[in-house]
């Protein structure tokens, strides 16, 4: 059984209890004030936007929103925690009892969401100094939601699907940018095994240091195997926290239950209870955008996309928005979807960039596709052009011009080249005339080679056939 705890940083402008910026980066300890540094005498004041964003997430994840909830203190010592307690929520979280639906092997499965609560982030330790560590408190007080799932997942694949879906919903509702590399999305997981048919819960192990969804999946796969092996050898699982070692591909012990903190939770006396009225809740509900599964259905109906394409394109709101803007300019949805799922996604994966970090706009992609349709460039040249656009942000026609990639569509020019190719390849011409169709492909290839791929494919075929039948 697998349960996940996901921490997501909220996209509010200012921190949860003061007006400092939440922007990522910045010189260490420049996004701080007496409040988020926890100086003696300072008091927190709850940012209303944080509640609003958390309620948005809660509604999008089908949760019950508490009319009355409160903040609590979670006490523990660590240098990155300025007050030596984290203001969080304990027994009365803002959202509870939700779910998300995932698809595994074509079947829909509901994964329960136990609770979502709001809390403040801690600072960051910098270990670059050899004499000791330094602390950067820029992140201290950045608002977080912690989303705790029910232990409803039974395979690492389901955990992966759950995370993908969760990320997509959080992005859709625009409450978090979910960038794992910047730490705005962090995942811990609990896993236990039990014999088939048993209803008794196994001892759970908590896994930490999971830096990507793939890492979650791999760590779970490893950990399940490890636990099964321990039990099969007659051993027992000891409740503990283990960390995923990415380079070794194993989980290692971190701390045992005995070493676990007693957080001494108690109600935060510096803050008043959080009241969410029904009116406010409805207002937030009305402001929710179209959710991924609705968008997917609409894309199938409205643009005639195959289900597979629609699912991929709508998995990210930014991708879906890009798609729709592009289709407005270039009315061939399937071609746009092919490009987004193909070249576009390939380069994003290679560079680790998000769609909004890529300099290519929907209008630019539409222009590129029009250049193919108009015969200015071929489909294969278009890939070269796109790669240049992706790297530099240049308009497609500029790239074509600068690199001299215009298609050779001049019949006389092309005929001269083809004649030369025929003259230089008597063997292949012979083979073709003897009925070997393959030889035709070779000759086309030679033409492309001679023109550096710029020959118009249809015209090349046509002229080649004419010249060969002479």
């Amino acid at each position: 059984m697998i349960g996940l705890e996901v921490h997501a940083e909220l996209l509010t402008e200012s921190k949860i209890f003061c007006s400092c910026t939440t922007k990522f980066g910045g010189e260490p300890n420049t996004h701080v004030c007496p409040v988020c540094l926890g100086l003696p005498g300072t008091l927190p004041v709850l940012n209303k936007k944080v509640v609003e964003y958390a309620v948005r997430a809660g509604l999008a994840l089908n949760c019950t929103i508490a009319n009355f909830s409160k903040m609590d203190r979670k006490n523990y010592f660590y240098p990155d925690l300025p007050k030596a307690y984290q203001i969080s929520q304990y027994d009365l979280p803002l959202c509870s009892n939700g779910y998300v639906e995932i698809e595994v092997d074509g079947k829909v499965k509901k994964i329960g969401i136990k609770r979502i609560h709001i809390e403040e982030d801690a600072g960051k330790l910098l270990h670059e100094n050899t004499d000791g560590s330094l602390v950067d408190y820029n992140r201290a007080g950045v608002p977080l939601i912690e989303i705790v799932s029910e232990p409803d997942m039974s395979t690492p694949e389901e955990a992966y699907q759950y995370l993908t879906k969760l990320k997509s919903i959080l992005e859709y509702t625009e409450v978090s940018d979910c960038k794992m590399q910047e730490g705005s999305l962090r995942v811990d997981t609990n896993v236990s095994v039990r014999p088939v048919g048993s209803t008794e819960l196994g001892t759970k192990i908590e896994l930490k240091n999971l830096n990507s969804f793939k890492a979650v999946q791999k760590a779970l796969e490893y950990e399940i195997k490890r636990q099964v092996k321990v039990l099969e050898e007659g051993g027992t699982i000891v409740q503990e926290t283990r960390r995923w070692n990415e380079s070794k591909g194993i989980t290692e012990p971190m701390r045992t239950k005995e070493e676990a903190h007693d957080y001494r939770y108690f109600p935060e006396p510096d803050l008043v209870p959080i009241i969410v009225t029904d009116e406010w809740k409805e207002e937030i509900r009305k402001s929710l955008p179209e959710m991924p599964h609705h968008k997917r259905e609409r894309f199938i109906a409205e643009y005639g996309l195959p289900e597979y394409d629609a699912k991929i394109i709508t998995s990210s709101k930014k991708m879906a928005d890009f798609f729709e803007k592009c289709v407005l300019e270039y009315d061939s949805p399937k071609a746009v979807s092919n490009w987004l799922m193909g070249e576009f996604s390939r380069l994003m994966n290679e560079t680790g960039k998000e769609i909004d970090e890529v300099p290519v706009t929907p209008q630019m992609l539409a222009k590129l596709l029009k250049l193919i349709d108009n015969g200015v460039i071929s489909g294969s040249i278009a890939k070269t052009v796109f790669e240049e656009m992706f790297g530099t942000g240049k308009e497609p026609e500029v790239v074509v011009e600068e690199k001299g990639l215009k298609q050779i569509a001049n019949e006389n020019e092309l005929r001269e080249i083809i004649k030369k190719v025929i003259a230089e390849n008597p063997k292949s011409v012979e083979d073709y005339k003897n009925g070997k169709e393959k030889a035709m492909g070779f000759l086309v290839g030679q033409v492309m080679k001679a023109t550096k791929g710029k020959a118009n494919p249809q015209l090349t075929n046509q002229i080649l056939k004419e010249e060969l039948s002479k």
Binding site: P34, L37, G38, L39, P40, G41, T42, L43, P44, V45, L46, R73, N75, F77, P79, P82, K83, A84, Y85, V135, D262, R264, Y265, F266, P269, D270, L271, V272
Partner: protein
Amino acid sequence: MELYSLTIHELRELLKKREVSALEVTKSYLERIKEVEPKIDALVTITEDFALQKAKEADEKIKKGEDTALTGIPVIIKDNISTEGIKTTCSSKMLENYIPPYNATVVEKLLEEGVIILGKSNLDEFAMGSSTENSAFKTTKNPWDLSRVPGGSSGGSAAAIAADEAAFALGSDTGGSIRQPASLCGVVGMKPTYGLVSRYGLVAFASSLDQIGPFTKDVTDCAIVLNTIIGHDPKDSTSLKIDKPDYTSYLKEDIKGLRIGVAKEFFGEGIEEGVKETVQESIKVLQNLGAEIIDISIPYVEYALPAYYIIASAEASSNLARYDGIRYGHIAEKYEDLIDMYMVTRSEGFGKEVKRRIMLGTYALSSGYYDAYYKKALKVRTLIKNDFEKAFEKCDVIIGPTSPTVAFKIGERANDPLAMYLADIYTVSVNIAGLPGISIPCGLSDGLPVGLQIIGRHFEEGKILNVAYAFEQANKFNAKPQAIGVQDNEVRSSDWLRGPCRTFDREQNLL
């Protein structure tokens, strides 16, 4: 008549008429401080240059006609209230050299009016104590008898006002820390309703109980200071939005028909006979003024002290966790690793009483003990609130002694925490219930001041001030502490009579 012996409203008259300047007033107080501080030890920091500069600015303000009720009036601030650029030590080794980069909201409000900060006053470390003996720096003496404590934790502020070191002072009251020292030093001290005065900048001891309030020489001054320091603060979520009343409008002598509750629980075991008699005579004074005296009961008040020590210590254990040596304050010189650094830093930085309360609070919040201690204490808190609510159905204010005893000897209770905790037996329930309470001097017992506590409903400071003012007018407390200028043993003989109705002319007792 020296300037330093005047009240705020008396000084105000002189300043307004330009008979004196703020600079003269300030200098008079600075002189006074130099004269009496060696005996009293009320102050941790004296801000002479800052005060002189502010005095000049105040005179400018007055010249331009931009002055208000507190312009040019000198104040002393308890050293757990944050002052920008001025050390705020909480009388702890932990914060010995800590200089805050910001002002508490109350300080900001005072500075805007042109108040002159003369210095920061001594307290029991982090406001934990009832005698000011828990200060890491010095023991403040009671101006009435230098061998006795001034009370605590705001003992420095109370002693400073009793010794005329400032026109008024600010303190903080978590379980009686304004009222009890006011009582022991013979001055007026008020703890306002929880949420009336912003706590922003008050170094937290127990967040759900702490409240800032004034020490003054009379009830009128108390109303004047209250007018300035109250009000909603967007930086403090627990400060309430209420219409700001003019508290001076409540300063009336008429209390005819007002129902005054007297709870038998406030005259129980441990009360000194002299205190009891003085307070009972004070009740008669109020009765003679036309108030109706009603017997009431607050049965759960006997659990107030234990509940208080659980709630306050629990919150303190969390509030004081931030003093870990990482960002500011004391840090251990030698340590082996992170945990060791925490332990050495905190062992060295905190005094005995602070450590005791951190341990108490940590224990009360620990898993497995939370229900038995903290949760139960919160239930008691609700019961006490209900008790007061019921009592206030029958009366408008409740009166009784502020402290069961007069000032005790330095060292007498220093090694007996339980005896020390009993000093707050009549004051803690007011914090537990979040109510406003005042202590005003009502007479002397064995030559030492006795305080009368008047408790009101939430946000009914006005009614408290009305009763306090009526009493004060009928029963002028003009006695002045003798210990600073005169040999105390002589004065405390039969010349000093017990009882509230004995009054003394100020001139007779000039220091």
